[in-house]
Symmetry: C2
Subunit: 364 residues, 2 copies
Amino acid sequence: MAICYQPPVKPICVRPSTTFSSASKSPSLRCNFSLPFTTQIREPEPILVSVKAFAPATVANLGPGFDFLGCAVDGLGDFVSISVDPNVHPGQISISHVFGDASSKLSKNPNWNCAGIAAIEVMKMLGIRSVGLSLSLEKGLPLGSGLGSSAASAAASAVAVNEIFGGRLGPEELVLAGLKSEEKVSGYHADNVAPAIMGGFVLVRNYEPLELMRLNFPAEKDLFFVLVSPDFEAPTKKMRAALPGEIGMAHHVWNCSQAGALVASVLQGDLVGLGKALSADKIVEPRRAPLIPGMEAVKKAAIEAGAFGCTISGAGPTAVAVIDSEEMGKRIAESMVEAFWRVGNLKAVKAVKKLDRVGARLVS
Amino acid sequence: MAICYQPPVKPICVRPSTTFSSASKSPSLRCNFSLPFTTQIREPEPILVSVKAFAPATVANLGPGFDFLGCAVDGLGDFVSISVDPNVHPGQISISHVFGDASSKLSKNPNWNCAGIAAIEVMKMLGIRSVGLSLSLEKGLPLGSGLGSSAASAAASAVAVNEIFGGRLGPEELVLAGLKSEEKVSGYHADNVAPAIMGGFVLVRNYEPLELMRLNFPAEKDLFFVLVSPDFEAPTKKMRAALPGEIGMAHHVWNCSQAGALVASVLQGDLVGLGKALSADKIVEPRRAPLIPGMEAVKKAAIEAGAFGCTISGAGPTAVAVIDSEEMGKRIAESMVEAFWRVGNLKAVKAVKKLDRVGARLVS
């Protein structure tokens, strides 16, 4: 999709990094930067005065899908409200409020806040120079939980700003905006922010240029995530430092085949196969699980309670299991919470949530 | 599928390794060995006096699908004829003829011939002790070409023996029989013999127990392989020795994501995506291509001529490209042959063949 600024308002000069082309009809999305330096396009006007967007939590890595696969989880996430604000300098954004348990840990400087960074990036992409915006962030997700907290803020914010100006950017451009935020916070990885924006399962195929593949889990099938978050800090940096620098060929082939099986299971709606692949990582999980007290026992408890598979969500400490029934999910969650307490001496909170198939969206 | 020997003839004692259970209705096939040592089952009688089976060539590895993914190619392959022969000692097999260009290099000792090894294994699985068989092998595939020559002989033979006794073994059991042959010839890898028996694309998910996933390429879409085999020897051992022992994390993640994209492209019938993934291996192909004179230029020529992707077939030296039209395939083949000659100073033979969706089958 090439961006065509239809209703001419004010001519502005757009740099290459603000323009895109992509094949948005295909399940594979791609972004190229192709317009010449001096292309004249028009700054869009706001079509709404105020919007509120929601973006879901995400489970990245998914075992053998390490660093390239993620999916969205319904009913958990962040909200971002954006208003046109004449008191804010045109072309800039101001963060008015940050609500939620994690609010005290978050900066209100938009250059150091995920929602702020993504909003600024979308404004740049759209070429907004005449309108100032005010942003309010409502954190529904805890920080550093392994549930894509930073990505959810960025995704909600990117969608909100885009929608206030008529929704001219496609999902892939919004992912690029979100990536600017992720880059500052946890590294240039799209496996949280892509599913947070696009919903469902997303495979990150390439970064140069960005290429994303939607993996459609069949609509007629149910998929529930059992999410159990212990009261434990697992900083992404530390969890990344635990990874091996080099991987033996046998383990590489094994994980590749499990990644292939995981992708096939998602597309075929084979939950048993999905769970088995999720559990089968021989490279990342074996290094990270020992750093989260009780994690190995929690995985064992989940499987024994009937889960199809279990692994670490993102960089942890949340454990994620998959199942096809909410009722079963609740029983599995109980077992996992119990195991965190019994073996890891950690209190944990639980949730059983469906796959989110929509991604970030306006809620008002 | 449990094996039920229905028409009782002669009671025999079956060892565990001759019995199987599997979920053959699922796209994921699995073999377990579960019957106790002393189970009494019946030796089946031949229902035919003579059969002839064909098994197709196969392309294994498929770039990032290294060592776990393969597919079958129609119109190229080996034929095996099997006859009940009262002159052969009961329970044994004798190789009467080996035809074809490669025949002089192949042993007629069934213990050292791929077709013989697989036939013996199927006879063991079925518990054949009262009937002797005579085998004739017609090699359609050259040896050491990277087109699954040994697997085709084993697959055709396994299917032929199974069918002469009523076809009681399922595809997964036949793959296990073929694996016994592959183990002796080129290593315990099922990525040739599984698609040679099952047809289409097959993902080898596990060996202990053997688990195979069929990946159905949409029936309504065409997929052509352009196969160009230079006059050059690329021994599997040498090609395997060229592989890196350790792989950096960045390359591991890249290849895993491309493997996922490859699997998704197959299932979605996305030939452009399939070709791109096929071409994207950063681990195996970069080590092996320089050992085949002209290979890098051949790949470049294929892409420039319009191929969606190109890589080394199996361990080489055949180059394989993919395209959706036979006409285009022929033009691409010309370019590849020309590049092998121009850059590698190698003569090469070409073929443009469809995906084989059936696998090994009786032809008379």
